[in-house]
């Protein structure tokens, strides 16, 4: 068989080996870092969706003041991880924010599902402040996205005049 074909085969075997190394090894926690980066994107997506909803409707979903897991399950949503201690047994469903029954908010790549996303929300009613937390964050990191809704929910006088 020609050497050229053997070289091509070698290309595939090498790609496979590199891929296997990428997949199964976790050199310096690279995969955990990538997962954390994804979580950071996800919490931002969730916070942005809530903000867009608030701007559109001038109201907010009925958030709890204690940390509550996002998802559709009514029970079994308690979660205890390095970064979260969720005591509320029911999940808070925010999937409607996507405005499509076929879509969902992001779920944690390791611990989350559509039903229990692995992300938590907490709302400070006094400060009108929302915190979205990634409960599956690794390497001791805290991954959160925060939004203040004071300006959105209480229009300024100048805006009101308009």
């Amino acid at each position: 068989m020609s050497r050229f074909v053997l070289l091509l085969l070698l290309f595939f075997v090498l790609t496979l080996c590199v891929g296997v190394l990428l997949s199964v090894t976790n050199i310096k926690g690279t995969q955990a870092e990538r997962r954390n980066a994804q979580r950071q994107k996800d919490v931002e997506v969730i916070a942005n969706r809530v903000e867009a909803f608030a701007r559109r409707n001038k109201t907010l979903p009925n958030f709890s003041s204690t940390l509550q897991q996002l998802g559709t399950e009514q029970t079994g949503c308690k979660l205890s991880t390095n970064t979260c201690d969720i005591q509320n047994d029911s999940c808070f469903d925010l999937h409607f924010l996507t405005e499509s029954k076929d879509l969902s908010l992001p779920s944690d790549i390791l611990i989350g599902t559509y039903y229990k996303t692995g992300y938590g929300v907490q709302f400070d009613h006094a400060k009108q402040h929302l915190t979205v937390t990634a409960c599956g964050a690794e390497n001791g990191q805290t991954i959160q996205a925060e939004r203040s809704f004071i300006e959105i929910l209480q229009p300024t006088i100048s805006n009101a005049k308009k």
């Binding site: 068989m1 020609s2 074909v5 091509l8 085969l9 290309f11 595939f12 790609t15 496979l16 590199v18 891929g19 296997v20 990428l22 997949s23 199964v24 976790n26 995969q31 990538r34 997962r35 994804q38 996507t98 499509s100 076929d102 879509l103 969902s104 992001p106 779920s107 790549i109 390791l110 989350g112 599902t113 559509y114 039903y115």
Partner: protein, 506 residues
């Protein structure tokens, strides 16, 4: 080199001139062509596979994306995530919105993902994930089809080379060239070879196993090739009992036992190791689920009645040409090699039967089978040669029905590309063509003096067959999508070349 030529060339110093003369020397050219013509065929085959590679199969084919997403997420996060049509536990549903900015149509806007995803083995996802990262795309972005299909162009080249090499080893050079050309320019097969599906990679390792076995390479190389075939997709293990029995028949009992045990362990450790690394209970549940899926009684009939290698049947007669000629392996005198090829063909057919649903079969399951059938198609020349030897004639004759069937395929395949405004041929024209073919066949059957032209006629029809495949590949998308909306790639080769020219000359 003859002495006189050397003297003549020494009187005219430029060496290039001599080389050029040699190339055009009839004898040298013939020898060169015999040696390297297969390379020309494979280059043309790659060219036709590359032409409009991003259009057909339609860009972002769901089954291709399954591998790409699984690979991206596996290499990026260490967790395979992709879409699935199987039943899954509630804990596995992980839905997500997919960015659709790399294609203009809205076919893959919303995808429901599962994690961990165990619908297929990890080998192809890992290759596609790595390739996707090299292209600069991360989960769940979809690379343009023109780029993500490129590794499969390489695989097609390897597979065609292996088909030729195996056929040459068993049946000789000219029959092998016929088998290679038949497969290289079969319109639907060449479109299937572009697809990112496990069967294309499985075929590589299946053919490597056969090649290593026939060329009596060290046993470890046969074990490795079979093991990889099994790792790419479990049905690839259909080769395991066939080679084991072939070794037993050669009274190589130790080798047979070693081969069987080593391949089985290789595959078992590979799969279980992967499952254990990700999520063993869900992996075992997926295996259980897949091994008890609904199958079909009448799959062999379905295969014979459904030409094509995708979900839709396409009336490409080269499918039946390969099928009919390939099945002739069962009628030629049985040697060690032909026996093995016929058993492998049967085992491949049975494997499709045992692993797919009736009337809901995914056409690419047939890729390994048809690669084997293409090798087998060379047998008809071998059979003919042996008959000729018996009758003490020296000339290589070609069975008349081969050029007739190829011509029939040429005529039939004009219907593969149909524009909605002219779907049918002129009735009288078609009648004339068909009657003409019948007339020529009659003449060649009864006029012995014409038979010496058969090789040239076969070469001519095979050239037309190759040319027609270029025409079909070029026009297929346009013809199919003229009266309907098809997934149209926004990143195309033509546009990339234009961009490159703009960048260079501005």
């Amino acid at each position: 080199m003859p002495k006189s030529k050397r003297t003549r060339s020494s009187s005219k110093p430029p060496i290039q001139h001599t080389a050029l003369m040699n190339l055009w020397d009839k004898k040298s050219l013939g020898a060169w062509l015999q040696k390297y013509f297969w390379c020309i065929v494979i280059l043309l085959a790659l060219l036709v596979r590359f032409w409009k590679i991003e259009y057909i199969p339609y860009a972002n084919d769901a089954d291709e994306l399954a591998y790409i997403w699984a690979g991206q997420s596996l290499t990026e996060f260490g967790m395979p995530v992709s879409w699935s049509s199987f039943e899954h536990a509630a804990t596995q549903w992980y839905w997500l919105e997919v960015p659709s900015d790399v294609f203009s149509d809205q076919y893959v806007m919303r995808v429901k993902f599962v994690k961990p995803w165990f619908d297929h083995s990890f080998v192809l996802p890992i290759i596609m994930g790595t390739w996707s990262h090299l292209l600069g795309y991360s989960f769940p972005e979809i690379p343009p089809a023109v780029w993500y299909r490129l590794p499969f162009l390489v695989l097609a080249g390897i597979n065609l080379t292996l088909v030729y090499q195996i056929a040459k080893k068993v049946f000789g050079n000219l029959p092998a060239l016929f088998a290679l050309s038949l497969l290289s320019f079969s319109p639907m097969f060449l479109l299937a070879q572009r697809m990112v599906v496990s069967e294309n990679l499985l075929t590589t390792f299946l053919l490597l196993t056969i090649y290593f076995f026939f060329t009596e390479r060290p046993l470890w190389s046969v074990i490795l090739a079979t093991g990889l075939a099994g790792l790419v997709k479990l049905p690839g293990l259909f080769v395991l009992p066939i080679i084991t029995f072939a070794l037993l028949a050669q009274r190589k009992y130790k080798s047979a036992a070693l081969y069987f045990v080593a391949v089985s362990l290789f595959v078992l450790v590979g799969y279980l190791g992967y499952g254990a690394l990700i999520d063993l209970p869900n992996f075992l549940a997926a295996m259980r689920d897949q091994s008890s899926r609904l199958l079909g009684w009448s799959n062999p009939a379905f295969i014979f009645s459904h030409p094509g290698f995708h979900t839709k049947a396409v009336l490409d007669l080269s499918y039946y040409l390969i099928l009919f000629l390939g099945l002739l392996i069962f009628f030629v005198p049985q040697t060690k090699e032909t026996k093995l090829l016929s058993l492998l063909t049967l085992a491949s057919l049975f494997t499709i039967w045992m692993t797919s649903a009736e009337q809901d079969m995914l056409g690419w399951y047939k890729i390994p089978l048809f690669s084997l059938l293409a090798i087998n198609s060379a047998a008809i020349f071998s059979f003919n040669l042996q008959t000729v030897e018996k009758s003490k004639k020296k000339a290589l004759t070609i069975p008349l029905f081969i050029p007739v069937l190829v011509t029939l395929t040429l005529i039939n395949n004009m219907g593969v590309v149909r524009f909605p405004e002219s779907p049918f041929p002129e009735a009288q024209l078609l009648r004339m063509i068909v009657l003409g073919l019948l007339g020529v066949t009659l003449l060649f059957t009864y006029l012995e003096s014409l038979k010496k032209f058969l090789p040239w006629i076969l070469i001519a029809v095979m050239t037309l067959y190759a040319g027609q495949s270029f025409y079909i590949v070029d026009q297929y998308f346009e013809a199919n999508c003229k009266d309907r909306t098809c997934p149209t790639p926004t990143v195309t080769l033509r546009q990339k070349v234009k961009d490159l020219f703009k960048l260079t000359f501005q």
